[in-house]
Symmetry: C2
Subunit: 162 residues, 2 copies
């Protein structure tokens, strides 16, 4: 379900929230952009300038890209301090992720599945599984977590990223 | 200067590091992709599949997008705990950012300019200034930090993102 409103303690409750929605849903609440329906009219699809605030999907894509890259470059054998810090990082991340309903879901998910930060492989696999939990929730295909370093660090074995 | 090699304590030292370079520089180290020079040959520009590891620039863009969005949705008046947590978040982030030379630069920059997390406005401005420090280093245009919430949360005042 798309979330179209933010709920926060700082007075934004009644404003449509771009980061809680995809662009099309959000734009409709603004009554400014109309969308073409095939065979109904000839309007081109809406063109946005590139330096606009990100919608929920765009924030998600950017954030997963950063997180997976970080996981695949995480130390293979981190120190105890590094491991504890990375766990802390995710607990804080889950509080401040800029889409409140997504953040609440993620907080619940990592309560059930706490960060595995004892090694690069364990950490990247754990993060991949968290992403798959979101994929399932959104009806998207899941990813084969055995290939997570190919996807985010090394490129595919068949050389198709070289 | 593009960084073409990672330096880390876990055995990756001698492998060309995609996240330390832009794609074109990185690809050249692989001796697999050649690039067309105008008037020299007719090869099309390289086409990568979309699910390849991100290069340095792509990781940067994704990460700044996430961070600026987070800052513009940060509480207007955070609690002391929230403020302390966000400061901690950036200190940890600076350790694990998946491009080591970039991470080292960022660690030095936030030592000189510690996170300002006492309010949404102060935090977003501080982050914008950190980004501008990187922009200057890379020879990119700087951003007018008075417009940071328009860029990352509200859209431009002239309605061009609506």
């Amino acid at each position: 379900m798309p979330h179209t409103h933010a709920s926060s303690a700082d007075g934004d409750e009644d404003k449509p929230c771009r980061a809680c929605s995809d662009f099309k849903t959000w734009a409709k609440t603004q009554n400014r952009v109309t969308f073409s329906t095939p065979g109904k009219n000839k309007q081109p699809p809406p063109q946005r300038r590139k330096d606009c605030p990100l919608d929920k999907d765009e924030i998600g894509t950017a954030t997963w890209s950063f997180l997976h890259s970080m996981a695949s470059y995480y130390p293979k054998k981190p120190s105890k301090t590094q491991s504890d810090d990375m766990t802390k990082f995710f607990n804080i991340f889950a509080q401040f992720y800029p889409c409140e309903p997504c953040a609440v879901d993620f907080q619940e998910d990592i309560k059930k599945h706490p960060p595995q930060t004892d090694s690069r492989d364990a950490f990247a696999k754990w993060l991949c599984e968290r992403h798959n939990t979101v994929n399932v929730k959104l009806g998207k295909p899941t990813f084969d977590c055995s290939k997570v370093h190919e996807r985010w660090k090394d490129g595919w074995e068949d050389g198709s990223c070289d």
